[in-house]
């Protein structure tokens, strides 16, 4: 969960389809296969000694290739410097004293020296990058920084075999058989491969090219510039010294002192500096003493790797390995730093093991100044038919409680066949206070029960079968052990639903459960419900009469008796669809609906309550056949629900602009079936339920609802949730929620872009009923093109004693290097309605 990789999986026809992240290679060169060639002037050796026919070298104009930009500052050395001119003559320049025949080196090899705390890229380096990037159709950082998306597509390298090699130069000279020298604005093009150089020596027999002076190589947006290059065209090998590279599709850039391409797939680099920051910005740079890239295995590995952020060395690893394909890297993930009053100073430094493309491991050592050392582990895997994770945490000794504490979780989902699936979801914590006290600063310890289950499901056509075993662990000290939910050991469900004709459907629901509890009566329960429905539907009306027979039988072994209940359930659901056209742009609908329900009374006071609770009353409840969820109670009913919904829809797309619903139940008789301890309900009508949803444009939305108690003439429930959302950059939520005798809350949250790259985030949830702040936080997210930092301060109710906890949390993310976990994102998703979710 916390690892660096993201898997995007979904189930298609019962099979998992997974994709990794888009390919984003490290500093790997495109294959250097510039010019296997017979040359025009120097014929290669006879084809009998050549393993294959090489494409012809065509010397002439290379169409549309721009002139080579000058990448190295032209320092004209002392002595004579001569260059060929257009007409084949020489143009010479003398600087300093006439050397009188003394030779000198054409170019001095400058060894890059990078002491610590000096800029990773010098002004000269940056000017090389600036020059190089002009060769690309557009600056890849421009769009990347604006949108976060790479501008240039990452096309696979094309195979240039068979394509001619076009070459253009001011001057050429055959030095020997198969040895030609070109100089002056040399341009070479072959397929997608382009090479610019000042001078080039081509050995046609060996297929070797030596290029020097301003060598630039480009292929599909990958650019390499170097002082000199040695290319073996036959073997696809190359050597370059002192390179600057730009990987347009990533985008990324950097330098190497030496690069050796040993084959089309294997390359070695020395003294690598690499960043995804735009040119002129060295906010972070990763350095490696040496780096090996293997495109065949998709692995990158290196030694003495260190990371600098804002010129400060931040992380170091003597060895690292990395998959090129989805940028997952073994090594330290960014540390998480926080402070809170229950834990003190809280520091964790996850280490990520990228074990294989489909499984990984994250170890998280964590130090809490008030609690000691806590070790965490997470293992994730992805198989052809299964995916899952195993996670655990242990605090070997908590000095406050004087004992070991921890938690563990396991999740697995397996698609056995397109129809069968199996799932396990298990959780355990050592004590009820663990999540509150030791969960990390952003986790929400709002659960009162932890559910664990193992289940298998079968779905095919009309059939559905499910069996499960589950358990609940109570993590709220306010819940006594006798109030704990029952275990289902097991629950077996078999449902069938079949349409004989469109207007005659029949089916049944069946369930068998063994309920088990330490402190309460165990019991077996069998529930059967065969049903016949005769749905009739017309464009303007529908009617669905339904008749079911509900049978429930209990075996209560402790008491040696069995109970049963058998009742018919009859209902009729009808409705109309009326429409009105408002000026052609809007359609208003009117949808009246009537729902009649009849279930005779049966005294159910003897029946224990294993799993049954009352449904929350709302608009949907008007049309349900039971007021209890779970089968221990079947509510007696002789009632009619009437409701009216009106919608305003756009005529073109059918998008809903407004929905207004209202409804009520009229009871023809008292409801005597209740949960234990509750009195017979004698009112003739239910609350009046009203809902109003408004979507005036794509930015605003309002969802609201009200329940009016006509007997006491008061509002029983009310809610209004207003949202403004313009992408994830501008979100503001304000809501009010009221339930009589239960809650009265105002809640506001936002994420707002203040300046370029600076967001403010926050939430305040306040209970008017208790006059306390339930949850609040405020934070900033600063983001540049290549990094992001977030700092959040949070205050929330921590436990049943209404103790509040204050915590501060900070995280730094370096884009394109490693994704540093979704922790903060998930926290914001949970707390800021609409964040990270497109409607």
């Amino acid at each position: 969960e916390e690892g660096a990789a993201t898997w995007d999986c979904r189930s298609v026809n019962g099979q998992w389809v997974c994709s990794g992240r888009p390919q984003a290679p490290l500093p790997s060169a495109p294959q250097e296969r510039t010019a296997p060639a017979d040359t025009a002037t120097a014929r290669a050796a006879s084809s009998s000694t050549q393993p294959r026919k090489l494409p012809p070298l065509r010397v002439g104009k290379v169409g549309k290739l721009p002139p080579a930009p000058q990448i190295a500052p032209q320092q004209v050395p002392e002595g004579w410097t001569c260059q060929a001119d257009d007409r084949g003559g020489w143009r010479c320049k003398l600087v300093g004293v006439e050397p009188a025949g003394k030779p000198r080196l054409a170019k001095v090899q400058q060894q890059p020296r990078r002491p610590w705390l000096r800029p990773a890229f010098s002004a000269a380096d940056e000017s090389v990058f600036k020059t190089l990037v002009r060769l690309l159709p557009e600056d890849p950082w421009q769009r990347y920084c604006a949108t976060g998306k790479a501008a240039l597509g990452d096309r696979p390298p094309t195979r240039p075999e068979g394509q001619p090699l076009d070459l253009e130069a001011d001057f050429s000279r055959s030095l020997a058989e198969d040895l030609v020298y070109f100089s002056g604005n040399v341009k070479v093009k072959r397929g997608d491969q382009h090479l610019w150089t000042d001078a080039l020596l081509y050995d046609g027999k060996a297929g070797i090219v030596n290029a020097w002076g301003n060598v630039i190589y480009e292929e599909n947006g990958y650019l390499f510039a170097s002082d000199n290059a040695w290319l073996d065209l036959e073997q696809g090998r190359a050597r370059m010294n002192h390179t600057h590279f730009i990987l347009g599709p990533v985008p990324a850039r950097g330098t190497t002192a030496r690069s050796r391409f040993e084959s089309e797939t294997l390359s070695r680099h020395h003294q690598v500096a690499y960043t995804t920051c735009p040119i002129g910005n060295d906010d972070w740079v990763i350095h490696a003493r040496d780096l090996k890239l293997n495109r065949e295995t998709g692995k990158a590995s290196g030694h003495h790797v260190w990371l600098e952020f804002m010129r400060v060395p931040l992380l170091y690893s003597p060895y690292f390995s990395h998959t090129i394909d989805d940028r997952r890297i073994s090594g330290f993930l960014t540390p998480r730093i926080g402070v809170s009053n229950a834990r003190g100073f809280d520091f964790s430094l996850p280490y990520y093991f990228n074990l294989a493309p489909n499984y990984d491991l994250t170890l998280t050592p964590r130090i809490l100044s008030k609690r000691g050392f806590l070790g965490g582990l997470e293992f994730r895997y992805l198989l052809r038919h299964s995916q899952g994770r195993l996670a655990g945490e242990i605090l070997p000794y908590d000095p406050v409680l004087g004992k070991a504490r921890g938690q563990a979780a396991f999740y697995n989902r397996t698609q056995l066949t397109p129809h069968w699936s199996a799932q396990a979801d298990l959780r355990y914590v050592s004590d009820k206070h663990y999540l509150n006290e030791l969960g990390n600063n952003l986790s929400i310890a709002s659960s009162r029960q932890l559910h664990s289950e193992v289940k298998t499901e079968y779905r095919q056509g009309d059939w559905y079968f499910m069996t499960r075993a589950d358990n609940w662990q109570t993590v709220d000290p306010n819940i006594s052990s006798s109030d704990k939910p029952y275990r289902r050991l097991p629950q077996v469900v078999l449902n069938y639903d079949h349409g004989f004709t469109p207007w005659l459907r029949s089916g049944w629901q069946s369930e068998f459960v063994f309920f088990q509890h330490e402190d309460r009566t165990d019991g077996h329960r069998l529930h059967l419900r065969p049903r016949v429905q005769m749905p009739w539907r017309h464009a303007a009306a529908f009617a669905t009469p339904s008749l079911a027979f509900d049978y429930t039988r209990y075996w209560l072994p402790g008491k040696g008796r069995s109970l049963s209940r058998a009742l018919p359930v009859a209902s009729l659901d009808t409705g109309l669809f009326l429409e009105k056209n408002w000026g052609g742009a809007l359609i208003q609908t009117l949808e009246p609906r009537l729902f009649y329900l009849y279930i005779p009374f049966d005294d159910q006071r003897d029946i224990p309550v294993f799993d049954t609770s009352r449904y929350d009353f709302n608009f949907s409840q008007l049309f349900r056949e039971n007021r209890f969820s779970g089968w221990d109670r079947l509510g007696d009913a002789n009632q009619i629900s009437y409701a009216l919904t009106s919608r305003f829809l756009t005529a073109d797309e059918g998008a809903e602009r407004l929905r207004l619903s209202a409804g009520q139940i009229y009871y023809f008789r008292d409801r005597k079936v209740t949960l234990p301890g509750q009195a017979t309900e004698t009112r003739n009508t239910s609350n009046i339920v009203g809902e109003l949803d408004l979507f005036p444009n794509r930015l605003f939305s309002l969802r609201s609802g009200i329940q009016w108690d006509p007997y006491d003439n008061q509002m029983d429930r009310g809610e209004a949730m207003l949202q403004y959302k313009d992408s994830d950059d501008y979100i503001a939520n304000l809501s009010y929620r009221f339930r009589r005798d239960r809650l009265k809350i105002v809640d506001g949250s936002f994420r707002w872009l203040l300046f370029q790259g600076l967001h403010a985030v926050g939430r305040w949830q306040y209970s008017l009923r208790n006059a306390i702040t339930l949850e609040s936080f405020l934070g900033v997210e600063a983001e540049s093109c290549c990094w992001r930092v977030r700092v959040i301060g949070r205050r929330f109710v921590r436990d049943v004693n209404r103790k509040t906890e204050t915590a501060v949390f900070a995280q730094l993310e370096l884009k394109g290097l490693i994704s540093l976990g979704k922790h903060v994102d998930r926290f914001l998703q949970r707390n800021i309605r609409g964040y990270g979710f497109e409607d």
């Binding site: 979904r10 298609v12 019962g14 929400i444 709002s446 659960s447 029960q449 559910h451 779905r459 609940w472 709220d476 306010n478 819940i479 109030d483 029952y486 639903d497 349409g499 469109p502 459907r505 009739w536 539907r537 464009a539 303007a540 109309l576 669809f577 009326l578 429409e579 009105k580 799993d611 049954t612 609770s613 449904y615 929350d616 709302n618 949907s620 209890f628 969820s629 779970g630 797309e653 059918g654 809610e719 929620r737 339930r739 239960r742 809650l743 809640d747 949830q765 209970s767 208790n770 306390i772 949850e775 929330f796 109710v797 921590r798 436990d799 049943v800 209404r802 309605r833 979710f837 497109e838």
Partner: protein, 149 residues
């Protein structure tokens, strides 16, 4: 007052056959679509060659979020979100409905005391949202088919 019964636009029989891609026909959402189409005299198939229109499901996203806390900091109201992302095309590949989504939200009370009953309620709410999403999808599809003619 200007309201009239919704026109019984009888789509020609070939248009009433809808092909579904992206999810299997045994998926609960597909079952709901098939049932509704059945009632409208149509049919759901997996094979675009037999169909008058093709619905491509790009994803079904189900979420659950805490909306409000009680005075002990425990969750008391939850919001369930059901989202279907889809597009529709004619049998010969012309766009009928661009990629769009149907998002449904329901908030319900759950004090986390009757955990099993509330879990059952949650799955019932999900079923209701799924059915409503299927109805909305078909309503949009029908509108698009009417407009296409």
């Amino acid at each position: 007052c200007g309201f009239h019964l919704r026109g019984a636009v009888e789509l020609p029989p070939d248009k009433r056959v809808v092909a579904l891609q992206g999810i299997g026909l045994d998926d609960p959402f597909a079952r709901d679509l098939a049932m509704l189409l059945d009632l409208a005299g149509g049919r759901l198939t997996g094979d675009p060659a037999q169909a008058g229109s093709v619905v491509i499901i790009h994803g079904i996203d189900q979420r659950r979020q805490v909306v409000s806390l009680d005075e002990h900091g425990k969750a008391i109201e939850f919001e369930l979100i059901y989202q279907v992302r889809f597009e529709a095309r004619t049998a010969d590949g012309k766009p009928l409905l661009p990629l769009q989504s149907i998002t449904l939200r329901r908030i319900y009370l759950n004090t986390q005391l009757q955990a099993i009953g509330k879990a059952e309620e949650e799955s019932l709410i999900r079923e209701e949202m799924r059915r409503e999403a299927a109805r909305t999808l078909l309503r949009r599809l029908q509108r698009a088919l009417e407009h296409a003619d």
